[in-house]
Structure formats: C-alpha cells, structure tokens
Amino acid sequence: MIEITMPRLSDTMEEGTIATWHKHPGDHVRVGDILVEIETDKAVMEYEAYDNGVLSEILVSEGQTVPIGAPIALLDGTGASHQASVPAPSGAVASSAGPAPAETPLAAPPPPPPPPTLEPSTAADRLVASPLVRRLAREQHLDLRDVRGTGPGGRIVRRDLTEMLESRSQIHEAFTELRGPAVVVTDEKRGSEAVPVTSTRRVIARRMSESARTVPHFYATAVADAGPLVRMRRELNAQLAAVSRPKVSVNDLVVKACALALREHPGVNSSYVDDTSTTMLVHRRINIGVAVASQHGLVVPVITDADQRTVTDIGAETHRLMARAEERRLTVEDMSGGTFTISNLGMFGVEQFTAIINPPEAAILAVGATTAEPVVVDGTVDTGYRLRYTLSSDHRVIDGALAAQFLRTLTTFLENPWTLVA
C-alpha cells in the first residue's frame, strides 16, 4: 500500500487544501494521471500520480486542510510502481509522519492488480541523475523519467530541469470555490455565516498585515489638471480606432507617467532590506505592478520595463495579464519582480484613497477617478477635469521631500500628456 501525502508545492507552502479529487476509491491510477487538485497558499495545482495502482482510500476529503506530509490517500500500488519495485516489507512505505490510517490497509481485501504499464525496473533502467537533481525532484515532486539528461552518459543535471521548474511555477493564482464544510451559523444575532478563507485571501491578509505593521507609511496626495489628458486621450483613441488599433486607457497613461517619473527619481524605485542590512536596494529596472480585482481575487501582475514600453504596449500587456488573471493562469514570473505598484479605483468613481504598500516595494500610487468639477482659471470659475492620486511611501527609504518631488514630476507628465507618447 502506498501512502500519498500532502506534497510541498511551493516554497512557502505549509499546508494544503484538497480542492477536487479526480480519482475515487476503486479507480485505476497510472503514473501521470491527475489525482487531485490542491489549493496552496499561492494557487490551485494539479497533483499527479507517481505510481501505478488502484486508489483504495481517500483520507482527506475535499475542502479539508492538512499540513505537508500528512497522508491524503492510499494507493494499492501492486505491480509496476517504481517505488514498489524496491523490496520493502509491506507497510514499510507508510513511514512518514502523521496519523497512520487505522487498520484499513490490512483489513481491505486486495483489489485486483492493474494491468502493468511499465517495464519492470532493472538496473539498466535506473535513472542517472545528479544528487542535486534528485533532491530537487524529491522536493518539487518532479518526475524525472521524461527529462532528457545532457550530462555525461545522459546524466540528468540541474540545467536539464530548468524548463520543468519554470513550467511548474506556472501557478493558477486565486482559488476555486471550495466545497468546504457545511456553513455554520455562528452568531444568530448578527446572522453570521462562516465562509472559508481562501488561500488567496490568506496571502492578502498576511502580506497586508505585515506591511501595515512593519512599514512606516506616509501619504501625499497630488492633483493634476486632467483636461489635457482627457482631450489627448479622446483624440488619440479616435485616431487609433480609425485604424482598428486598441484604445489607450487613463490607466495605461498613468502607468507610463509613473514609469517615467520613477526614472527621474530612482530613490522611489527602491527597497528597504531589513534593519540589519547596511545597504538598501535601488532598482535599475522599472517594473510596475498593476492591482487587478479579478473575479478570483486581488492579484498584482507586473509590467516589466514599463519605462521602455509605449503606451499602447503597456495597454496590450495589461490586457494580456488581466485576461490571464481571469483564467487563473498568471505565472510566478507574471507576478514577481515588481518595483512599484499602481492601484486604480477610478473606474468605481472613487475620488481618492490610500493604499497599503506591496513589500518589498517602497511605494504605491492610489489613483482616483478623473472628475469634472468647477475650477478657478484666471479668477473665473470654469469646468475642468481633475485627477487625484495618493502616494503611500515607505519612510525608511523615502522622505517627504522625495515623495513630493516624485509627485510633482508625475503631475507634470500627466498635465503634458503628449510627452508620454513622444
């Protein structure tokens, strides 16, 4: 009997939630079959079988959460499994920590052996891989049998895993609707319902608490005369539409303006390391995270080198990332390496707000709506457009004057919007 345990699917994972069982007791399982979908702190990931056999028992039902290493199912691996080919006394495989499933394996009648699908293992079949590769395979649950080794004699070396490890890190951010335990009414007076906390929500909770608790935030709000921006965008989009090119959004222009302003004020494009470090980091590349409220939760995909992209390119990249967020197909690559974040609630009519910094970045810009309002021009009241935005800064690396200078540069760009596309 082979014990299937909760795998470690990410570096930060400590426990996992069973999202969906794809196999059920009695089902034949072949190596590579998807057994189960597991929700981690980062994503919902499919977990494949590493042995052939018959799934004999599910120990953790859908919606339940258990720590890494805890048994989640039992597989009767009679026959061709590569693990079972190691002569071991029966039951010896079930040696990992966690409560051993009571007598079941012994009591259950042996299910019929599945048809053997692999050649019996022989010494010649032994996978040749470096110790480093074997460790990575253990830790990351990689199946090395499909990897072509390029080392001497076909040895699989670390480099041969690069592709596999990258595809592994394609995480399906956000969460599935948990078929969790039945809703419990915990407080009748308030009519409360216990709703499962998703992993995405837990990550947001942890990171935002940590940021609010440890990063000394201060806030500075600026306002731009958005009239030129509104008129320029209208004109630009009319011309783009005429040649069937996608339109440019206010957000695309704000991203570009921030990127250019960051280039002039690299101190804002920085990270505080920690209290013991004698250095802070100033980032040469300008990678702007854009907070996206997808239907699956808040995610922050990153537009790399935003300062070097055109506004239409920024728009296209934003659309690509938002689409991937909706499909829960954002990769770690898509979401890492940000140096600054923009959160825009303008489309909801929010005039201005403050945001919590996304560590290890040093600042975040909260962007409000472009509003038409009475403005005073040369002593007379006229109708004008205003755009308000608030910079939250990490005071450990950014002082008030720097924040103010950055905002002034940003405002200049936004009030002279042709410079953004020039």
């Binding site: 110790p131 480093l132 590769v133 070396v157 670390r158 480099r159 690069t162």
Partner: protein, 337 residues
C-alpha cells in the same frame, strides 16, 4: 602593513616569537652559521646565540626527539627539517612520540613543538627530494598540520603554531619562499583549523592549499578574464584539523568542486576533501568531485619528465572544463540560471 616575501615573513615571525618568549628556540641542520638552507633563520644565531639557535648533526630522528623532550619539559622548540622528505627519518619520533605523548600519559606532558619543513617538487631534485608527504602527518590524530599559502597566513599561522600546546607540522613550500604579499604589522595569530574562501564565485569551487592555493587563485582569475567564469576558491590553510564546514558551505553554493593537491592522487588529501564533500554536500552536487594531482610515479629527474608528472595549470583548467561540461555549462559563454 608591509609587503614582504613569504621567506621574510617566516624569518620575522621566528624572531618576534623569540623576542616575545624566551622559551622559543630553534633546532635544525645548517640553521645557524649557514643561516638555513633557505635563509629563513638568517641572522638569528648572531642575535640570539647558540643556546637558542642550535645547529644539529644530520640526524633528523635525533634532533626531533631532542626537541620533543625539550617541549615536554616546557620549552617551545621550532625544528627546521630541511625538506619534508627528510622528515621520514624522524617519522617514528613525530608519529609515535610527539603525537601520542599527551594522550598516552594522561595529559602529564604536552608537546608544544613546531616542525617547519618545506615540500615542493619541480626543482629537479630527484624522486627522494621532491615529495609532498604532508598527508602522512595529516593522517595522524594528535598532530596538527597547517599549510599557509601567503606571507600573512605564514606569519599568523606560525605564531599560532608556536603558541599552540600541541605538536604542529608547519608546511612550507620551496616555490612560495619568494612570493610576496601584504603582512599587517599587528597581525594576530590565526586560529588553526580554519579554511578561507579567498575568492567568491558561483560556478564551481576550486580547493587548494599551500602552493596549489596560488594555482587555484591564478586559474580562477585567468578563467574569469578569458571565459567569464565565476569560480570560488577555498584555501584550506589547515590540513588537520580540516575545516569541513567551509568546504561544504562552498560546494552547497556552487554544486561542483575540483580539488588541487601536490601529492599523489590515490589516498591523497583530495580524496579526503572529496569524501568531505560527499558527506556534507551530497544532495547539492551536480557533478562528481574531480581531483588534480601528481602522476603516480616517483618523480623523475629529467626536466621534461618531471614537468609532465607534476600537475600543470592546463591540467587544472581541463578538470574545471570537464566538471562544468558535466553540469551542462559549456565553458564558453557561461550563463547563470
């Protein structure tokens, strides 16, 4: 801070230690009137007199034994054995007496003895005068063996060896005596048993000691310039105790190692280092540990044959390429993942 030769660093340290502690005395062949075969003890007979700088007969077993007795009775003798080849004549004294007296007699007497002796082939001195047999001593519990590669380390480790209460074999090298380096004026004794990462890198760990630590540093610099390789160099500095932690930590970072040794391959220092890596960094190795050592022959006298038998820089580079090829990093245009 002064720039001086390895030879000068040894000389000055001996003199300073003799000034600091009158229990320190020197024994050896030709170290007094002739001022030492390699002039390490130049001027010391004149300065300290024949009671503290003693020319001995050509009798290694005898004067090493005499030094052991002196050490047991409270002096701090520093014996010069002209080359490590001749130490074989004193092997019984060193292995059976110096190394064992403290333990065998319940700690009644310690043996604060230093044996300074150079190794080094390549000088056309023939098979019996060109060996590197420090391994024989590094093998023996009860001895300490240090093998500094720079003038500063020579000073710091010689101070430590003289002040240590246990017998220390202090390995020098004929090829190092004229090498130069900075030696800080107020350099403290170095702890015995520590290796040092003398160059940080990520692609591969290159390990050496004494002369081979120089070769390692030189090859690493050369390959950094010509191939963009990022090689980490570890100077063992001490063969017993061996600083296994530093070796392991380095290989855990680089995932590959080449060990340089100035002795024969089979059962050599490199074998011990490779075993250390296997024990401590097995799961981090991406390629087998390679060793570069002498050809397994009595070293020939004829120059072309001698040169062919000694490990060359090209041998080192070839071993590095083989190792890097094995981990899939071709040695040209090496990138990082």
């Amino acid at each position: 801070m002064a720039i001086m030769t390895y030879r000068r660093a040894l000389h000055d340290t001996l003199r300073d230690e003799m000034l600091r502690d009158e229990r320190v005395l020197l024994l050896g062949e030709e170290i007094g009137v002739f001022e030492g075969s390699y002039k390490i003890t130049a001027g010391l007979l004149e300065e300290f007199g024949p009671r503290r700088v003693r020319d001995t007969p050509i009798a290694e077993e005898g004067f090493t034994g005499a030094a052991i007795g002196a050490a047991m009775l409270g002096l701090r003798p520093v014996v010069e054995i002209m080359t490590i080849n001749f130490s074989l004549l004193a092997l019984d004294q060193i292995v059976n007496h110096a190394a064992k007296i403290y333990g065998m007699f319940g700690g009644q007497a310690s043996v604060p003895l230093v044996i300074r002796t150079p190794g080094g082939g390549g000088q056309q001195l023939g098979a019996t005068h060109s060996q590197n047999v420090e391994l024989y001593y590094a093998f023996v519990p009860g001895l300490k063996v240090v093998a500094p590669s720079t003038p500063a380390d020579a000073r710091a480790l010689l101070q430590a060896a003289i002040r240590d209460d246990d017998p220390v074999l202090f390995l020098e090298n004929l090829a190092l005596y004229n090498t130069k380096g900075d030696v800080p004026d107020d350099l403290p004794p170095a702890p015995i048993g520590r290796a040092r990462v003398t160059r940080e890198g990520r692609d591969l760990t290159l390990i050496g000691y004494s002369r081979t630590a120089h070769v390692a540093a030189q090859v690493a610099d050369q390959l950094a310039a010509s191939e963009g390789l990022d090689i980490e160099v570890v100077d063992l500095m001490s063969l017993r105790p061996l600083d296994r932690a530093t070796i392991v930590a380095s290989v855990r970072k680089t995932h590959a190692a080449v060990v340089l040794e100035d002795d024969w391959l089979t059962y050599g220092i490199g074998a011990e280092v490779a075993a250390t890596i296997s024990d401590g960094a097995f799961d981090d190795l991406d390629a087998p540990v390679r060793r570069v050592a002498m050809a397994e022959v009595p070293l020939p006298y004829a120059k072309p044959l001698e040169t062919a038998a000694l490990p060359s820089t090209d041998d080192v580079i070839a071993a590095i390429y083989q190792t890097l090829d094995a981990v899939g990093r071709r040695h040209l245009k090496v990138g990082h993942d």
